[in-house]
């Protein structure tokens, strides 16, 4: 049985090679998800690299990525499969004097099946990473659809029978926890909570993502961001936002993140005006805007 990663350390180093700096818990859990062939449910605040983890796993193992973006109102026809009824109509019209029995058997074949992400991922022969993004955005009924896929890696199509995975995909589900997922889904998954990283790791992430950044600015930036996360803000700055901030500093050619520079570019990380005011007050920046 082909394994995704050989060991937690292997997972860590291979993810690192693709530019995703995983902490010990993330690497271990990713390894376990591959070794046990269980779906991985990743939860955490926005912008901490949940989706990125799935992409990194795909890159690290050379697998194809199949993505199902969830939204309110997502249904079976767009998640699993659909019959191409227009083509079926044409087939019926073209059959002419053929009997109903032959036509009936004919129009429910592979040729008329439109596969959607979940079925695609299961039917692929190559290694596949299946990313089910923002699963908390869907309605509760869709979770029911997922159950068969997540536990047995198979899809039952009434007309065709059961399609089983020839090769189990590496499934990653991401959630922002706006809604509690059902116990049934959670039971089938491994769980990983991603949180804001510690200062050291965040500095590594920022410097690896933004090459031109000097060590000094990176350290200052990470310090300010860590301080901001401690404040009671409506939206704490995410990793993605600190990377954006680093890029901004490069673009503005700011070589020293002093109070003036922080004040001028704070809008990159804080998106609420009340958060902005609070940060200015707490960081003791000059209040003038």
């Amino acid at each position: 049985m082909p394994s995704w990663f050989a060991s937690p350390d292997d997972a860590s180093s291979r993810l690192h090679a693709t530019g995703y700096l995983a902490d010990a818990a993330t690497a271990t859990t990713a390894y376990l998800a591959g070794a046990l062939e269980k779906p991985l449910l990743v939860e955490g605040p926005a912008g901490v690299g949940k989706t990125e983890l799935a992409k990194a796993v795909a890159r690290a193992s050379g697998a194809g990525l199949v993505r199902l973006q969830c939204y309110e109102g997502l249904d079976e026809a767009r998640a699993l499969y659909e019959w191409n009824y227009k083509k079926q109509l044409l087939r019926i019209q073209a059959s002419g004097d053929e009997g109903w029995d032959e036509t009936h058997d004919d129009i429910f074949t592979d040729e008329f099946l439109l596969t959607r992400p979940l079925l695609t991922a299961i039917r692929r022969d190559e290694p596949t990473v299946l990313l089910i993004d923002e699963v908390d955005k869907t309605d509760v009924e869709v979770e029911g659809l997922l159950l068969e896929v997540l536990s047995d890696f198979q899809v039952t199509i009434p007309e065709l029978g059961t399609v089983s995975a020839t090769r189990r995909p590496f499934v990653v589900l991401t959630s922002n926890a706006t809604r509690e997922l059902s116990e049934a889904v959670k039971r089938r998954c491994l769980f990983l909570h991603l949180d804001y990283p510690d200062a050291e790791r965040e500095r590594e992430i920022v410097t690896s993502q933004v090459p031109g950044l000097t060590d000094k600015v990176a350290t200052q930036l990470v310090e300010v961001v860590a301080r901001l996360r401690e404040l009671e803000l409506k939206k704490a700055p995410s990793i993605a936002e600190s990377v954006d901030w680093a890029r901004t500093l490069i673009a503005l050619e700011i070589g020293d993140l002093d109070e003036e520079a922080v004040r001028r570019t704070l809008g990159v990380v804080l998106k609420h005006s009340s958060d902005h005011d609070r940060a200015v007050k707490e960081l003791r920046l000059a209040a003038a805007r």
Binding site: A25, T28, L32, R179, L190, H193, D275
Partner: protein, 460 residues
């Protein structure tokens, strides 16, 4: 104890702490442990967490229980001094614990805290328990460990000032230094407490300690029994809670969106299908938004509870048509103007706290007088479209209850509720007038964030 026993014990303890760990998940954990080595305790912890804990709010509970069943070290570990690892029950504590030792220890601790050396602080926490936390028993097996005793001797809180001075010397800003010092000393205290639990678990068996150490998760913690750190954590929970509620409400409103049949549109659409109305069209429903009047007791006993409810109402402000808030102890004071849209939470709470002074003239809770003054001064606040929400424990210091005035107020409003942060079994005991008021207005028990969230969801 075999490894399997330990595993079963851990799963049992997690279940009794309220985590729903299924048999399948337990098997998953074992399968996961087979794949990884036992060389690193943190890896084992991660494997357990990934397979057994499916909710982040339960992680704290899990960590506490994991530490009991898979302790960081046994006894003094390899780092402990060899003389110290004597038989239990032997009065070694008295020998090791003397003034000189204490002074040296506190010096070392201060240095480690100032340098921020986590590993050293951890070692010192273990040492603190070994030296100062032992409670020799009268017989073998009766000796015990007390984090309280150890902390009383070491008094890390007194090191804060010293630590602040040290950090200032390193060029830190005064506020930052204080914050940092407070956090590091808090961390040390936590480590000492954890080590005490570890030692107790080692001597008495983890299953005896598990029941005691596990605190309810933050969303099930009573408002009235919360510590200061808990309160801060709870405040951080308010916004996510409000967001979750808002999402849930929008979804439910969408589900109920179809209103009465729109005849014109249905007929018009039927023209395309030769006059057969294949699809019906409906008018969207008009969203119903309530006006809310919150009347809350801000006296000491229930201040926390009032704060949280106000905060949640404030966070959900756009779900209401209009919100008016009044605080009282014995006088009624309007605080609606503090709830500015897009305002900063911390500032709002500070303003509210500052305005509490206006709500008290005599400083003793008096519900009767509060209702009477409210009816006199702010009767215009209530109308046929408003909902009245009273927050308080209904402990009125045996004063006149003015039940009839409240009945009048309730009659004017469209709906009325009373949220009581006390457990139902305490209602009507002592000076609580919960039963008397409960006859006039439906009284709801609301002790923690979960109950609060449920209630707010139901009234919207």
């Amino acid at each position: 104890m075999t490894l399997l026993d330990t595993h079963i014990g851990l799963v049992e303890a997690l279940r009794s702490a309220g985590l729903s760990v299924s048999l399948a998940e337990g098997l998953d954990a074992i399968a996961a442990l087979e794949r990884i080595g036992w060389h690193d305790r943190e890896v084992v912890r991660t494997a357990y967490a990934a397979t057994l804990v499916k909710k982040q709010s339960q992680r704290v509970t899990f960590d506490a229980i994991f530490d009991l069943y898979y302790p960081r070290l046994v006894g003094e570990g390899v780092a402990g001094d060899p003389e110290g690892s004597g038989e239990e029950g032997e009065p070694a504590g008295a020998v090791r614990d003397n003034a000189a030792a204490l002074t040296t220890f506190r010096g070392e601790l201060a240095a480690a805290l100032e340098a921020g050396d986590d590993q050293r602080v951890q070692d010192l926490a273990v040492e603190a328990m070994a030296r100062f936390g032992a409670m020799p028993g009268r017989g073998p097996g009766l000796s015990s460990w007390s984090a309280y005793t150890a902390l009383q001797r070491v008094t890390p809180q007194q090191l804060v000032d010293q630590l602040v001075a040290g950090l200032l010397g390193r060029g830190a800003h005064p506020d930052d230094a204080e914050r940092l010092a407070g956090r590091r000393v808090g961390e040390f205290t936590r480590l000492v407490e954890a080590d005490a639990r570890r030692r107790l678990a080692e001597e008495k068996g983890p299953e005896h300690v598990a029941d005691v150490v596990v605190r309810p998760t933050i969303d099930r913690l009573d408002f009235t029994s919360a510590r200061r750190a808990d309160l801060e954590e709870m405040r951080r929970e308010i916004y996510p809670l409000a967001r979750r509620l808002a999402v849930r409400l929008t979804k439910e409103q969408h589900a109920r969106r179809r209103g009465a049949l729109d005849f014109r549109r249905t007929v018009r659409a039927s023209l395309a299908t030769g006059g057969v109305p294949l699809e019906t069209h409906h008018r969207p429903r008009r969203p119903h938004r309530t006006e809310l009047v919150v009347l809350c007791d801000v006296s000491g006993s229930v201040a926390n509870f009032a704060q949280f409810t106000l905060l949640l109402v404030y966070a959900l402000r756009d779900q209401f048509h209009k919100v008016r808030a009044f605080t009282f102890v014995d006088q009624v004071h309007e605080v609606s103007h503090h709830f500015t849209p897009g305002g900063d939470v911390v500032e709002v709470m500070e303003n509210l706290a500052a305005s509490t002074a206006h709500a008290a003239r005599w400083g003793r809770t008096n519900y009767g007088r509060a209702f009477t003054t409210f009816a006199e001064q702010h009767a215009d606040a209530l109308g046929p479209r408003t909902s009245l929400l009273v927050l308080g424990d209904a402990r009125s210091n045996y004063s006149d209850l003015a039940v009839d005035t409240l009945r009048g107020l309730v009659g004017e409003a469209r709906h009325a509720w009373w949220l009581n942060p006390e457990h139902t079994r305490h209602w009507g005991t002592g000076d609580s007038a919960a039963r008397a008021y409960g006859e006039v207005v439906p009284m709801v028990e609301c002790r923690n964030l979960t109950q609060l969230g449920e209630f707010v969801h139901d009234i919207l």
